[in-house]
Amino acid sequence: MSLFDRLRSGLKRTSSSLREAVTSIFTGGRVTQEFLDELEEVLIQSDVGLKAAMALRDRIQEENKKRNLKTPEELFGVMEEMVAEILEGVSEPLRTAPSGPTVYVLVGVNGAGKTTTIGKLAERWRGQGKSVIMAAADTFRAAAQEQLAVWAKRTGSTIIAHQSGSDPGAVAFDAVRAAISRGVDLVLVDTAGRLHTKGNLMEELKKIIRVIGRELPGAPHEVILVIDGTTGQNGLNQARVFAEAAGVTGVCITKLDGSSKGGIAVAIADELGLPIKLVGVGESADDLRDFDARAFAKALFARPE
């Protein structure tokens, strides 16, 4: 199943999609002031945020002046195009090391899907015949290491873990060292979930990243911020603070197989200019996709079938 199909099949069963809502308020077949006001509110329902909703509204108004928008299809065309532009504007593929091990660090708030995404990334690289080391740098949460160990086993990766409660920086250090000496292709560092509001935990994260950079110049090649697709406007705060503290280079939006369409991605790309690089569409190892701005925009306004 393609990402688009997957997203659409999710949308199918939600009672009122964005598309339906917009269609239902576009009754007069004309873009009126009243319609624009309502449109803004309806757009909010996709979690894109007030700012993006207003921008979309303004675009519709502008476009309407140029060429009288008369059908819902025309409206969706305009909005889809605009969302795709925003997302494409900052889009960038995943980086890899020109030579030697590639290191990805996954960061994010609690329960976003970091560990699972590591399993999925490992599956992808292993499928291409590459070797993978997982660093169990979440030494805090109950059974975090055991969880990662299951993913290591499933994907045929090596796991580097210390005792529970030990220094996460030391785990990352050991993993990078091991990768260098064994000529491993990819290191995936699993960090503990942390709220962006907790200064001490953000400092800990900085330290992990510093340690990695010291051991292997140029690393980490990606600091991937994992954001739950169901997240509301707080996602913007998360992205802002993680970007500042940890130098986030890309975002992965997870749980898009749920009923949420991950509208917060639009706000993040628009307001912070962070590229969305990956999306998670399920709990299995193969439920990871590269981000496709066009498909995402289309899914946001998709017709429920």
């Binding site: 009672s15 329902q45 945020g49 109950a142 299951v150 962006h196 509001t197 509301g232 707080n234 802002r240």
Partner: protein
Amino acid sequence: MKPKMEFEGLSARLAGVFKKLRGKGKLSEKDIDEALREVRLSLLEADVNFKVVREFIAQVKEKSLSAEVLESLTPAQQVIKIVHEEMVELLGGKAKPLDLSGNPPAVVVLYGLQGSGKTTTAGKLALNLRKSGRRVLLVSCDVYRPAAQRQLEILAEKSGAGFFTMDPGTDPAAIARGGYEKARTGAYDVVIFDTAGRTQLDDEMMDEAARIRDAVSPRESILVVDAMTGQEACKVAQAFDEKVGLTGIILTKIDSDARGGAALSIAKVTGKPIKFASTGEKLEDFQVFHPDRMASRILGMGDVLTLIERAQAAFDEKKAEELERKLRKKEFTLEDFIAQMKEVRKMGSFGDLLRMIPGLNRMKIDVDIDPKEWSRIEAIVNSMTPLERRRPEIIDGSRKRRIARGSGTQVQDVNRLLKQFFQARRMMFQMTPEKMGRLRLP
């Protein structure tokens, strides 16, 4: 780090509304609409579902139009007060405890989306109940997520609860039955079932949730919801409620800076109470849910509300008029003084309050009373004769000694009280009626 960015924006926005509407006397429909427009935007920013916002605003508008106009508040403040009251009501009024009545074991099942915090919450609930002396069994029905069973087992150890699960190849409903049996025969008071995360779109998994419920007939079916959830919270809660029949909600991760509008959405669409709030990763980080605090948080206006509440308490209109009348006649007795003190004592520091009032905030007033001193003051006044209370000037040395003896205090204490009284009276008498009129908040 700037965790409170959104929050500040909102306070500023509301301050803007206040300024615009300052000084107008009555609540006109236009005033209400203007204030509610800002409230609407702030609710949307707080992730309250847009449909819920619409209904809620309509409800508040109706109330506002028919509201009795309180002289001590500006129109904007009054609207905000109604908004807040309505929201508290919607969020469940008084906090409700878990229902653990009936024959033990009392059954609690936790449901929710992936990663919302179910397993951690199970551990927290267990610890909470253990503290009140109950025997708790934790049962893991999550056979999907890697190491989910082990995670709960560790939390059971930490919280002093028992633990039960079965081989991951087992049907979760069968595990639930096994867990219930163990709780029954093992004389546990409460048994808590942790279930796998699931999206409401997954029919198979939703059917499984219903089968788990049927296997154990829970007294409490709790939806565990992440406070950072966006607009979808409504649909999620509705779907779970339809499928398993929820009895309550637990809100997690409120230690984040999310405004938590999802709480309002869910409370509104399900009508189910929010019972607990989870405030961190550690098992101790768990509290009873406070609707009033949550309402202030969603509105992003904690401080403004306290101010309104304090102002109301302090300047009960009738009493203010009575005082004004007396001051005009230059009558201000120790009894008035004490009555005033009693009232402001409810609000903490008198000085604090006065400093909030424009015009008074620059006066030097030394009237703050240490709470410990309060009982002493009361004793002193109670030892006075009615005449002494009305005309404190007559209190001479021998009267002071008598009063001190009668109240079990020292003469210095009596002196201090009288000094404070005379100072307050002097200040009151200096106030012209125009100044009195300003004893109202902005």
